[in-house]
Amino acid sequence: MKAYFSVFKLRLIYGLQYRAAALAGVATQFFWGIMHIMIYEAFYANAASAPPMSLKQVIIYIWLQQSFLVFVALWIRDNEIINLITSGNIAYELCRPCSIYGFWFAKLIAQRLSGAMLRCLPLLIAAFLIPEPYKMALPGSLAAFLLFTVSLFLGLMVLVSISMLIYISMFITILPVGSMVVFSSIGELFSGMIIPIPFMPSWLQKIAYFLPFRLAVDMPFRIYTGHIPVSQALQGVLIQLIWLGVLILTGYASMKKVQKRVIVQGG
């Protein structure tokens, strides 16, 4: 266990080095957030029927989404792992006395955590300081906030266990592009990254609620806004735990399987 924690720590230190990238990210996401809010504002002003979420809830949702982008975006890839596979440096990883699944899982969590640590605080502070209606707001209750934190982290783990499947598929396809594009475009839509799930037509909502992607984005953020009440949120956390178990077991088993067919070429 200590090994996984150490690799987590080292990857965290690694990620915290890239300050310039983080700064650029904060600036981009800040303007991206403002732009999104403006679009919703216009939409709300001319809405024919009552929208499923209040404007304030949507604004909070957008700021959380921008602040924790590195946490929740499926398209973020760890180039280091990709390089390991394509360059064959994985040979070293394979002669270590620990499971590669756990090793990579720790690395991926740390990568996203370090990215978010650098970005979320400045962005959230800025979002709290700007004038209404763009201003970010506090959560509805303490319980909502606690549940938000728990489900955000569980969501992160669900997301990482999904992306582990992408990396595992690379053992077979070598290039990550294919599975990356398929997974991330489906994931993007059904996680609620493009629009919050309540805005979707009901048939699409059914699919979104069935898939695990929403557990990382839509669910934690709507818990914060209070759109998902505390009682339902508890249920959601349970669903997260179940999905997490299923995804990790699947990943672990398939990793074992592909490891047998590893061919490290050259040199």
Partner: protein, 332 residues
């Protein structure tokens, strides 16, 4: 009982094949042809504790494949292999705990952080007790001369410095067996000598068994008493380096410098059978000595009657030439 036992290992790879051109590229979208490459065919050898074995062969002969199999990365098609009583690919985790591996063309160090951070991660991965870690680290820093570079980010190290750090990294957990896959590739003369020195030290002091692959025959000469030669996936020679020299070395070259001497020296003036003159000038004579039966003293005493000798150098046939001969003999 030998420490490493490999018997009858076979490994084949499937390689997708297609001819050039768009037509073929489109065709291969639907149907792929594969070539089977037999990387290893019936490879067997044993290695005892404390041996240094040089594993040589031309590019693509199967050296790295063998190393990858015995370090538990690849699974062979068939054959048996036990290392310290374990089958590498079946008990991967307990197997790798006892071996150290260096792949000269790859890196195990984290690129953007100081070397010591990578070392500490390895300490936790291998669960090395604090005391043992400190002792090993001290020894490695001393023998590999890492003091000045251990706190430098890896990206700022030269290749030679990095290779020393890689060697250190693979020995932190005090493995009994060390596999080195081209550890001196791309290194300058000084780093090469440092790496060789270190391998010798670690072998002598900690009785570490070493298997190293290389294309640099001077590595082998400096380190290994025993060589394994692989060609086309088969072990074709397993034995002592000196025996090999005796068998294939056919001639020596002697270069003699002397004070200016004006009448030419020919084979007749020399008059020793088996010794022929390659070139001769007023101050320098190059001789070729065939066979091993000829005494150098005969040549020198004969010559010293004629000229005033200033300097003599004797060159054996370069070992690279021997290896080429060996490759030719086994048609590999």
């Amino acid at each position: 009982m030998p420490q490493i036992e490999v018997s009858g290992i076979y490994k084949t790879f499937k390689v997708a094949r297609r001819s050039s051109g768009l037509r073929q590229a489109v065709k291969s979208l639907f149907y792929r042809e594969y070539d089977t490459v037999e990387a290893l065919k019936d490879v067997s050898f044993t290695v005892d504790t404390g041996e240094i074995v040089g594993y040589i062969g031309p590019n693509g002969a199967g050296k790295s494949t063998t190393i990858k199999i015995i370090s538990g990365i690849l699974v062979p098609d068939r054959g048996k292999c036990t290392i310290l009583g374990r089958v590498p690919w079946k008990e991967r985790i307990s197997h790798v705990r006892n071996i150290g591996v260096v792949f000269g063309q790859r890196t195990q160090l984290w690129w953007d952080v100081p070397v010591i951070d990578s070392y500490e991660l390895l300490r936790d991965i291998y669960k090395i007790p604090r005391r043992e870690y400190m002792n090993n680290l001290d020894l490695l820093v001393d023998t590999l001369d890492l003091k000045g570079i251990i706190n430098t980010p890896v990206r700022q190290l030269s290749l030679g410095q990095r290779m020393r750090c890689e060697l250190g990294a693979s020995l932190l957990h005090s493995p009994g067996i060390l596999f080195l896959d081209e550890p001196t590739i791309g290194l300058d003369a000084e780093s090469k000598i440092a790496v060789r020195q270190f391998i010798k030290t670690i072998n002598r002091e900690k009785n570490v068994t070493v298997i190293l692959t290389t294309h640099d025959m001077s590595d082998i000469e400096a380190l290994a008493n025993r060589i394994l030669l692989i060609g086309n996936g088969r072990i074709v020679y397993d034995g002592n380096l000196n025996d090999l020299k005796g068998r294939f070395s056919t001639h020596k070259t002697i270069i003699i410098n002397f004070r200016e001497y004006n009448s030419p020296i020919d084979d007749k003036t020399l008059g020793i059978p088996g010794v022929s003159i390659v070139s001769c000038s007023q101050e320098k004579l190059t001789l070729r000595v065939d066979g091993n039966g000829i005494l150098l003293t005969d040549i020198i005493s004969r010559l010293s009657n004629i000229v005033d000798i200033v300097d003599i150098s004797v060159e054996s046939q370069p070992i690279d030439e021997l290896i080429v001969k060996l490759y030719r003999e086994y048609v590999i």
